[in-house]
């Protein structure tokens, strides 16, 4: 079967916005797809070593539910995605000196990412 190409973009860092792109990336990578996992705006915070996933207001129950269920943390999931071969990119970002990447990520212009998305079998942003 032809190898699929998947481009997933994380735009936000709240817990409920961080899980879906990582889940899709892990799922796609584990099924053999080439996965580009890109981070922009606040999503890039997920890549920071000091990132703590906090849900949005009124969704606090999700934190407890995820803990109770024993679901992998956002950083664990990110690690699995990288292990599975997902490539990490940050888009149009001015990396400040205090930013500490938990995994290496290449900085790319949005145009590059959109070109990749145009040729992908699946493009999603969260």
């Amino acid at each position: 079967m032809e190898k699929k190409k998947v481009v997933v973009m994380a735009l936000h860092d709240e817990l409920e916005s961080a899980y879906p792109p990582l889940n899709v990336a892990v799922g796609a990578a584990s099924s053999g797809a080439d996965v580009i996992l890109a981070f922009s705006r606040r999503g890039v915070n997920i890549l920071d070593k000091r990132y703590v996933s906090v849900p949005s207001e009124d969704l606090e129950y999700l934190s407890n539910a995820l803990n109770d269920f024993g679901v992998a943390s956002v950083h664990d999931l990110l690690g699995i995605a990288v292990e599975m071969g997902a490539q990490l990119y940050v888009v149009d970002m001015d990396v400040n000196n205090h930013f500490e990447f938990i995994h290496p990520a290449e900085q790319v212009p949005i145009k590059w990412l959109l070109n990749e998305a145009a040729s992908a079998d699946l493009f999603m942003h969260f």
């Binding site: 889940n23 999700l62 109770d68 699946l122 493009f123 969260f126």
Partner: protein, 115 residues
């Protein structure tokens, strides 16, 4: 014959009414629609949540969901959803699925939209 295939991915329950209205418009155009509910979005697939909605709001959401199901729109709940841990009572017509089903459906779609 279906014109186009739409896939909606909903992770916030507050977005569900909007997505259902869009999905119903797609279905009226004879488009094929699948909705995947994840995280907080999957709450609407729990019968107990629907009862709370019924008490605290009007029946709008339940009616919308029934209309969507009647129109042939497919509802999928994320198999790994954390709400299942304390016993999700799945609404009639919805089914559980994993990320593999989502990807399979999404690869075939003309548009995949996340909310």
């Amino acid at each position: 014959m279906a014109n186009k295939k739409f896939v909606y991915f909903v992770s916030l329950s507050s977005n569900v009414p909007y997505v259902l209205k869009k999905a119903l418009r797609n279905a009226e155009e004879e488009d094929e629609v699948s909705i995947f509910f994840d995280l907080d979005g999957a709450r609407v697939l729990d019968k107990r949540y629907m009862k709370i909605m019924e008490r605290t709001h009007n029946m709008d959401l339940q009616q919308l969901m029934q209309q969507a199901l009647d129109k042939g729109i497919k509802f999928f709940g994320c198999q790994m959803n954390v709400l299942i841990a304390d016993g999700l009572e799945l609404v009639d017509g919805a089914q559980l699925s994993g990320v593999a089903t989502f990807l399979e459906t999404a690869y075939q779609a003309d548009a995949v939209l996340s909310y």
